[in-house]
């Protein structure tokens, strides 16, 4: 009996040694390598630096089984592991990762929030209820949460940001942005290329520098788009019951096709000033190089520009 008791005490002490402990580990990683991080609850903070190694610091929460670090110089995997079936009872773990700036990063959390700064490789970040904030990336960024908010500030060429119920914000000079939410609002700023943004009950607000292509769609929210229409640029904005407002910061050269079923249409553009009324309105400004479609079933459609 005493032997069993001693064994249990040793086991308990061993697990307690892991629980709530500080971590400080280092591994080599190639500049073009990939770091993959899994932490169910707590936080994941990732920072880029100039060293060819990954430093893992932070704390593991009570009840965590271990921090598993595996893989190679080209692909390193870091995972907070829990005793089978006991992750719900474990406390939060907070990981702070420093990694080569040019490497790729993948991070997955359930309720863990994810923050990433100064990493220029391809970024793929997912959380279920945690928020995601990205400041970095020059290649591509994918950030997805179910109920958390998503905020991306990046120079990446391609950005995908989505949430089901959280707010999605993208501030980027990306060539291509795809931002969507179901019930949250979507905001995109600073883009000069192709923008796709959608929501169901959230509103969409886009401030672009230059619009090569903008496809913005919501069902019960409103849509607003501001920016200079590129030569040959295409705009397609729609809402079912919300308003659609487009404000061009230049003199757009485009064929316009505007419609509403029970709302109103108002146009305030050079060469088309004062056009209003009717359910459908088609006209051309300048040489008609681009195309602008805007529709709302029961909301208003407003177009303005210089």
């Amino acid at each position: 009996m005493n032997k069993v008791l001693v064994a249990l005490l040793i086991l308990g002490a061993a697990s307690y040694a892991v629980a709530g402990t500080e971590i400080n580990q280092t591994r080599e990683l190639a500049p073009d390598g990939t770091v993959s991080i899994d932490n169910v609850k707590g936080s994941i903070k990732i920072f880029g630096w100039d060293k060819k190694e990954v430093e893992i610091t932070g704390t593991l929460g009570n009840g965590v089984d271990k921090l598993d670090i595996s893989g190679s110089k080209s692909r390193l995997r870091i995972k907070v592991e829990y005793p089978s079936g006991f992750w719900r009872h474990a406390k939060e773990s907070d990981l702070v990762i420093h990694m080569p700036r040019s490497a790729d990063a993948e991070a997955n959390g359930v309720s863990a929030s994810i923050v990433l700064e100064d990493v220029d490789g391809e970024l793929d970040l997912e959380s279920v209820s945690g928020s995601i904030r990205v400041d970095g990336g020059t290649k591509s960024v994918s950030a997805q949460s179910v109920s958390g908010s998503v905020r991306v500030e990046s120079n990446a060429k391609r950005i995908e940001a989505s949430s089901i119920s959280g707010r999605v914000q993208v501030e980027a000079s990306a060539e291509e942005v795809h931002a969507k939410s179901v019930s949250g609002s979507v905001t995109v700023e600073g883009v000069s290329g192709r923008i796709r943004a959608s929501s169901v009950s959230g509103s969409i607000h886009v401030e672009a520098k230059t619009i090569a292509e903008a496809k913005l769609s919501t069902t019960s929210g409103s849509v607003s788009l501001e920016g200079a229409l590129a030569d040959g640029g295409e705009v397609d904005c729609g809402s079912h019951s919300g308003s659609v407002t487009i404000e061009f910061t230049n003199k757009p050269s485009a064929r316009f096709d505007l419609s509403t079923f029970s709302g109103s249409i108002h146009v305030d553009l050079d060469n088309a000033r004062g056009l209003s009324g009717g359910r459908n309105l088609s006209f051309t400004t300048g040489e008609g190089k681009g195309e602008v479609d805007a529709n709302s079933f029961s909301g208003s459609v407003r177009i303005s520009g210089k």
């Binding site: 109920s147 089901i164 179901v182 769609s217 069902t219 295409e234 729609g238 079912h240 079923f261």
Partner: protein, 227 residues
């Protein structure tokens, strides 16, 4: 009265929604226009036919594979078109049983709520189902596309139903609320389209709304396990 006004009045006349003066004016036009009289008669006949339609019709067993192939072909063909070209749902496909498909594929299901209380009037159902007006734009291509969306939606709804236990109550509530918002938008558009069958923008917007619903359902099936 211009043609559009006349058409609108015709629908309202059939539905008995004109006031006394409007009705008198319309009947005066009716007396002077044999074509208009024919159209009124044709619409009434179709309404009677619609009233006798069964609630549900099973398609022939080999019908879905054939349709699937045709739609697949249509989708592949679509890539050849530019944005301003014909969209994939407007590709020519075999239409012979479009009306049957529409009914069997669940069109009536969307027009009638779960308790089978009609959301649309019989005339509206007929308008969407049969595109009864001579130059209707609620085309068979549209109907076929709508059928495909409805099928996809039904399958995805079942898939979401099976995964309900994996999602948190909060996420499920957001999904359900937003599916309802889209459902309401679809109903608005169906009613509007029934009254304005020539409005191609409306039919495009309706299909876009179906697409949005299918996208949301797809997204829901791909959500991570929250249990």
């Amino acid at each position: 009265m211009n043609t559009n006004e006349l058409e609108q009045r015709l629908h309202d006349y059939i539905d008995d929604e004109l006031d006394v003066s409007q009705r008198e004016a319309f009947e005066k036009a009716l007396a002077q226009d044999p074509a208009l009289r024919e159209e009124v008669e044709a619409m009434r006949t179709l309404l009677a036919e619609a009233a006798s339609l069964p609630r549900e019709i099973e398609p022939p067993q080999d019908f879905w594979p054939a349709l699937s192939q045709q739609m697949e072909h249509g989708e592949k063909s679509a890539s050849r078109f530019t944005r301003r070209g014909r969209p994939w749902w407007a590709q020519p496909i075999v239409y012979a049983a479009a009306a049957l498909l529409l009914i069997a594929g669940g069109m009536l299901g969307t027009m009638f709520r779960a308790d089978f209380a009609p959301v649309l009037s019989p005339r509206e159902v007929v308008a969407v189902l049969f595109g009864h007006t001579p130059d209707t734009v609620v085309s068979q291509e549209f109907r076929s596309a709508e059928t495909q969306f409805i099928q996809a939606r039904s399958q995805l709804r079942m898939a979401v139903e099976e995964q309900k236990s994996k999602l948190s109550p909060e996420t499920l509530a957001v999904i359900e609320q937003n599916l309802d918002i889209i459902d309401n938008a679809i109903q608005d558009m169906q009613v509007a389209l029934a009254k304005n069958p020539r409005d191609t923008r409306l039919s495009e917007q309706l299909l876009a709304m179906y697409q949005k619903q299918v996208d949301l359902l797809q997204q829901a099936t791909q959500l991570p396990d929250e249990s």
